[in-house]
């Protein structure tokens, strides 16, 4: 089938502002948007820039706005988006070139969540593992699925207003450790989350949940963090 792909283009060395360029290409309905972008870059316009790596929905590199919705280009089939496709960079982050955005504010916010295990207690008697029951593991299982693609954060109206808001992805990272029974840094993280740019900036728009390519219930996770602040319960 013949499809038309309208792509946002911006070269900071040449362009004052972004513009759109349309490409008409042959594609199979079962092709992915990433395949089409590769086709355009390989055969039509080598200057087109976009991020991609694993191409199988695991690395999270190729999150972009496809027909107005944040998606992974490698997980989006042509048959699901139609013959007229508009591809744009993620919103809320500065465009570096074409479909590539500056991810620094996103990862800066992620780092603020102390995204690593904090446990100063002595190791168990056998000196090996800190054991955890399947139920305790299941408590934060969902938030371990995050691939940091930024689809959720860049679909959030609060993040569009200010990238100082930590954003859904960072809050999911906090959730992953706050509810881990082996972790002892919950109070530090909740202290950080209680700041003006923390959980209170979430207005439960649910854009993040809709955008997540891993089907993580992001808004629910943020709600659980809010409840933990009020009740103190981490189970």
């Amino acid at each position: 089938m013949e499809i038309t792909v309208k792509i946002f283009r911006y070269n900071p060395e040449k362009d004052q502002r972004g513009h759109y360029v349309s490409y008409t290409v042959e594609a199979d309905p079962n092709d992915r948007v990433l395949d089409v972008l590769e086709l355009i870059k390989g055969h039509k316009d080598g200057s087109l820039s976009f991020r991609r790596s694993c191409a199988h929905g695991v690395c999270g590199s190729d999150a972009m706005r496809i027909n107005g919705r944040n998606m992974l280009a490698c997980k989006t089939l042509i048959r699901d988006v139609g013959a007229n496709i508009t591809v744009e960079p993620l919103m809320g982050l500065k465009v570096a070139k074409d479909l590539i955005v500056d991810m620094d504010p996103f990862f800066d916010n992620y780092k603020k969540m102390l995204p690593y295990m904090i446990n100063e207690s002595p190791l168990p008697a056998d000196g090996r593992e800190r054991l955890q029951s399947p139920e305790q593991r299941a408590r934060f299982d969902e938030s371990t699925k995050c691939i940091m693609c930024a689809a959720c954060t860049t679909s959030c109206p609060s993040f569009w207003a200010s990238d100082e808001y930590y954003g859904p992805a960072a809050l999911v990272a906090a959730h992953r450790f706050v509810f881990d029974s082996r972790d002892e840094g919950a109070s530090q993280r909740l202290e950080i989350l209680s700041e003006t740019n923390g959980t209170v900036r979430c207005h439960t728009a649910y854009n993040c949940t809709n955008a997540c390519p891993r089907d993580i219930q992001v808004t629910k996770a943020i709600g659980e963090l809010k409840m933990a602040m009020v009740t103190g319960k981490l189970e």
């Binding site: 305790q136 209680s194 923390g198 319960k233 981490l234």
Partner: protein, 137 residues
């Protein structure tokens, strides 16, 4: 294994979180008060044989000086307290709504701090004035 519960001081329960929780409580209280107002108006209108317009009037624009149930001092005090409670929760909820919108546009720390001073001062002043007006009505 023991349940993990953080003590209050370690929950990060800041002013912002308090305002978030308060906003949720106020909206629940608002629904409760609206329901109580409508039920009260239905009962009062049933006793006095009022029509639908009267029910709406007594639900949303209660004239405390002229109760359809007569000059029952206790009832009027209760009605005044109900209206005052409604004004307080509406004011509390509205103030936080204004701050939420403000924070979308003003991201500087001082800007946000001053917004809180101004809006909360206004809310306290408006609530006090409303309470006084309702009480003397």
């Amino acid at each position: 294994m023991a349940a993990r519960t953080l003590p209050i001081k370690k929950r990060g329960f800041s002013f912002e979180v308090f305002m978030w929780a308060f906003t949720r409580f106020t909206v629940i209280a608002m629904y409760g008060l609206i329901l109580a107002g409508i039920i009260g108006a239905l009962i009062a209108s049933a006793r006095t044989g009022a029509n639908f317009a009267d029910i709406l009037y007594w639900s949303f624009f209660p004239n405390l000086a002229e109760s359809p149930l007569g000059k029952n001092f206790g009832m009027i005090i209760l009605a005044k307290l109900m209206v005052i409670a409604f004004v307080l929760v509406v004011c509390g909820h509205g103030v936080h709504g204004v701050l939420e919108i403000w924070d979308d546009y003003v991201t500087s720390e001082s800007g946000r701090r001053w917004a809180r001073y101004i809006v909360i001062s206004y809310a306290v002043a408006a609530s006090l004035a409303a309470m006084y007006i309702i009480w003397i009505a």
